[in-house]
Symmetry: C2
Subunit: 120 residues, 2 copies
């Protein structure tokens, strides 16, 4: 791990959240987590690569589903603790086959309803 990666701030589990946005439409697609090695792999391969907290392993997005994310840019916020990826998304970002994982809205009473996010 080279020095520049050390300046980023990881949480107690050694992870940093990555917001994923469609580079063309601006739609926010999902959020996932990275460790320094996932970030390095993402930057080197231009294929969005995360750390799966449930499986405790690296996860190249779309490796099994084909719904890959080609990375156009990687940004970091002022506090150096959140990443923003702009990607070209093939197919659905969501495992429930919606274009975006944010396919439900929260009403004032906390109830959820499916919004207009397209299902593919």
């Amino acid at each position: 791990m080279s020095a520049p990666f050390d300046q980023l701030k990881y949480n107690a589990d050694g992870l940093i959240p990555a917001i994923v946005q469609d580079h063309a439409s601006g739609e926010v697609l999902m959020m996932a987590w990275m460790n320094p090695e996932a970030l390095k792999r993402t930057l080197e391969t231009k294929k969005a690569t995360y750390w799966s907290r449930s499986r405790q392993s690296f996860w190249v997005k779309g490796e099994t589903s084909g719904h890959v994310q080609k990375v156009h840019s990687v940004s970091i916020d002022c506090d150096l603790d959140t990443i923003l990826l702009k990607v070209e998304q093939t197919g659905a970002a969501c495992h429930e086959n919606y274009r975006s994982c944010f396919f439900r809205d929260v009403a004032e009473d906390g109830s959820l309803s499916v919004n207009e996010t397209p299902k593919l």
Copy 2:
């Protein structure tokens, strides 16, 4: 706290991350954290309200700076553990006076450089 809020998934600190996006331009502005009460206040007042981890207190965005966020919609992801707010942002979202907190890009070697995010 009403039952619908209980179905959302909070982390070990009782918090859920909220991605904040400009409702008109689609620009991702920042990420902050909410607890159930911050979410309820946000939904009721339509003013983005977070939980400040550093100050351990509620934080109505723009209360001191005037850089308020009027909330247009609140969405939740498939895993019920990340929120997306679409807001009307007055002024800069970033305390460093950039429109967005994501004003630096990460190069392949991990080095950072200021991108084209406008400074206000």
